[in-house]
Point group: D2
Chain length 143, copies 4
């Protein structure tokens, strides 16, 4: 299910706008993210840091946790695309922890649009960024 | 700034309802959480697990990251109360990681209402649950 | 099982020495930690940061993961004391995430010695620092 | 700097043996890991879980944090290879969070040997598993 030009325009705008909502007094590294679900909803997020660095969260996980927790079980949301925006060039890619978090809910064909400081993007799929992933299929069946 | 009976009713309902939005196929341990900000907004969240267990997030951090990332910088949101709901009795308390995450944004007097499987609560403040906390004041001034 | 003066001397020295092994280019906040097991072994650790801040680990978890992973199952190690050393005064306390990690293996009476920049300590027990903890007893029996 | 057959034999044995040191009552998914440094030292680790799932650590990070915290600053250890062992087939790969943690200290050519339940391996480099990584070079210079 591919993303339209109009959807990508809006997804880009929302990811870039989300940088203004980052709480990052320790790194000063603002990240905005936005997921588009297959039912047409946009879920934004930003990085939220902590004085104890490992306790903070990235923008991608902030957005996706919010999206998943907006969907009543047993349904699981599906996503068409992710956009991530930072203030550097070339654009930052999602960290490995976020790639892993995304992998729980998105297939390897999910397009990830990474926007640089000039709002230009590089696109890679989740499969490109997390090949040979560890995922639910590797576990024994959950209880 | 204290919470009214009406606000607490709504906060409880939202935290309990949020359990239905938990993604927890590995633990089968549903958690719902809701923060009430001082401007009267409610921010719900649920736990979102991952096949690689350390990569998942708790309900409290899901809700609070969403709340913080809904507020444009340089403003920082303020909160009046947190409710957490689980399916056990006595009620579960927030894990230490969540207490730490909350500590970045909430004072020691924040009331935390913990609801058990019968929707009865125990209330403790953040200061009760994370005494002698490590926080922003312990770091050298950020850049 | 209480710690002797001689053991505490060595535990202090090891925690303070461990600060020199911290990898903390992002925070410049060195932390050293050392656990003493009931069989008399000392396990040191230091904080190990990551460019993606949430991915790093604290000194206390570094030390304790190493200690637990040095003990063959089904045995579970037991601990007599923890010392943590930082370069500030008053001394830093373990973050909430570490308190939670420690809670899995140590009882509420575990003494935690926190050393400041002048090698003076404040002692609190785990129960003091993580009251009303969430722990294994709160979960359904694991598979 | 390539690994010899003899070194790989020992690395495999140590990773497989480390599975017996896993603390994983919640997942029952044992993981052992071992890093070989360029100076010939082997650093083993195992997964150490927590009742609050996100607070636990994986085997790879347990081993590598221990290795890094065994090296006095300003030196940074260098590594020749990593082996990871699990009880499934095909073998599990490191999760994204661990790939990110490893990326801080190892180059893209690091060989990662993944052993399955029958002690057969698949080898991929870090660059294979974490292409287009986010790393220290993406941050503003640390303070
Ligand atoms: Zn991330
Ligand atoms: Zn938590
Ligand atoms: Zn910590
Ligand atoms: Zn991992």
């Amino acid at each position: 299910m591919s993303i339209t030009d109009q959807e990508l325009d809006l997804l880009r705008t929302k990811a870039i706008d989300a940088k203004d909502f980052a709480y990052c007094p320790y790194s000063n590294f603002r990240v905005g993210a936005c997921f588009l679900s297959t039912d047409g909803t946009y879920y934004s997020g930003a990085n939220v840091e902590n004085a104890c660095y490992p306790v903070g969260t990235c923008a991608e996980r902030c957005a996706l946790a919010g999206a998943v927790a907006s969907c009543k079980r047993p349904q699981i949301p599906k996503f068409k695309a992710l956009a991530v925006a930072t203030d550097i060039s070339p654009p930052a890619s999602p960290c490995g922890m976020c790639r892993q978090f995304i992998n729980e809910f998105c297939g390897s064909t999910l397009p990830i649009y990474m926007y640089d400081k000039d709002n230009q993007y590089v696109m890679k799929t989740l499969g490109d960024l997390l090949p040979m992933s560890f995922g639910p299929q590797d576990l024994l069946p959950p209880r």
